[in-house]
Symmetry: C2
Subunit: 312 residues, 2 copies
């Protein structure tokens, strides 16, 4: 799950009025989420047993298998963690505690009854902060810096071509098309003077992690793990078959194929009993047991179909 999560880009979300970046992976009736406001990074990893226990504690009037609870949880949080506007019936609040932990509380409806979930997130270890933010962000900066240099080189070549035309007596039919000769230093100074103050001033919606950077992040993470896989294949000839399959999946396929959202989910049937609502997970097996690689994920460059579920 950690490896799958690593490939996902951070997605800007608004939880209880606060701008955050989130990474989340829901699979095999377990989940792992990472949240950051760029001042702290929080995480929660939950096993099937823990999910069952918390779901039951928060929803005493509902009786259901962990699979059914998990399905409903996914349906409730997928839109939220994908950066979509939560539907009007969902209520989300975020509480930051004195000990630096945060609780994200969600309230939605299930068969006419309220359905609650709470994420109890603790500060992540520095190793996770480095792996999920520091190293990829530094690589992004290096990559972009090299791209700036490459484009500067192209501009110098364009100027050489233009200069040659001019020297051969060419003239412009439209004066407005004339460009200044590109000067690296002047360009950089002007750019910094103009853009840096704006960047440091503007309200950072999405905390600055926009679609382009998300895409770049995912590409870097995929390349990085693809390289790790190649290295590990070079080192050992024999790798257990199942391990190899997982690692290949994580490495070769981009985040889009690693983590698919089920677009065709159907709500479960709900059977009411004497003093508790029973939720049957047999009627919707795909939903109750999502694919191993099924994750809450959004690629901003690709519009997603509107999901249909109990909570929408």
């Amino acid at each position: 799950m950690e490896a799958v999560l690593t490939h996902l880009p951070w997605v800007p979300v608004s939880l209880g009025g606060r701008s955050l970046l989130v990474k989340s992976c829901f699979a095999d009736t377990t989940y792992r989420i990472l949240l950051t406001d760029l001042h702290c990074v929080w995480e929660e990893t939950m096993s099937a047993v823990a999910i069952q226990s918390r779901a039951q504690a928060l929803n005493k009037r509902l009786q259901a298998s962990v699979g059914a609870f998990f399905s409903h949880l996914c349906a409730m949080v997928q839109p939220v963690f994908s950066g979509e506007k939560p539907d009007s019936e969902s209520r989300i609040s975020l509480i930051q505690h004195q000990d630096d932990k945060v609780t994200v509380k969600l309230r939605s409806e299930l068969a006419g009854l309220p359905f609650y979930w709470e994420f109890y997130c603790s500060p992540a270890p520095i190793s996770s902060v480095c792996a999920e933010l520091v190293r990829p962000l530094l690589t992004m900066s290096r990559l972009l810096q090299q791209h700036v240099e490459q484009l500067r080189g192209l501009l110098v070549r364009k100027d050489a071509e233009i200069q040659d035309y001019k020297e051969n007596g060419a003239s412009l039919s439209r004066e407005r098309l004339r460009t200044d000769v590109f000067d690296e230093q002047t360009n950089t100074e002007d750019f910094m003077a103009k853009v840096l103050p704006v960047l440091c001033t503007e309200q950072q919606n999405a905390l600055g992690f926009d679609g382009i950077l998300q895409h770049l992040y995912a590409a870097i993470m995929t390349e990085g793990s693809s390289r790790k896989r190649k290295l590990s294949e070079e080192r050992c000839d024999e790798v257990p078959a199942n391990e190899k399959t997982n690692s290949t999946l994580a490495a070769d396929s981009g985040p889009e194929s690693v983590c698919r959202e089920s677009e065709d989910k159907k709500p479960n049937d709900n059977h009411q009993c004497d003093d508790a609502h029973k939720i049957d997970d047999k009627t919707a097996p795909q939903q109750a047991r999502p694919l191993k690689s099924e994750c809450v994920e959004r690629q901003s460059s690709k519009p997603k179909k509107k999901k249909v579920g109990l909570f929408r």
Copy 2:
């Protein structure tokens, strides 16, 4: 000290054979250092009293004031934390402990006797990791991404100019000067395919934090705190004079002026006593009490004069 340290760029160093990035500020017989291998971030902040006590414990045969110890410590670590190759007499080792702490041990010579120092660094709080790495790196990425976009725009304009010359019958005298029409998508795909694997493959000397990124980092941090200062000035008309002076110093002057290295340091005189070496700090007051803003710092774009001191 925290504010001063924030402005400094991370400097690539090699400690005991390991590549690290370091930020350090030595001032007023106190210091604060930050270290990272991009997998963890460590810190140590030491008061004058703590420095005196540790210096005495590690160097039982030397007797000196904290000012004298501090001067010698600065002279010993400044070259190391500036990314310079340590002189042949200095020995540096780095020990990573089971509890994630690291100890950096330095051994040098003082008046013919060994002089020892040890930094005991603990994992930094996430808030420091975010302030010193995550937020500035994200801003760097955003800034560079916008620069890439600006340069793409310039290339498109160059192509329009070239196209106009061509349409007016201009021809090139040297065919090798002809450039392809710039296509954003092709350019980005080619660049990513070529550069990303190399970036993820290459031995990351300097952990990728080269001179250009250091410069960018410093510019972002200076702009950020300059903005904070303006905001705080707008909010309150009256600020205590000394507070205002400090904040203005940190905000307005770049890292080069905030943290100056004393280039003209003189070694202290050393007086031997019966069973201990006494170090006199009265003979070199500038060295014993460095300026408040005097820090161990290196701007890779500006070569520094070779420092002269007891340990070189």
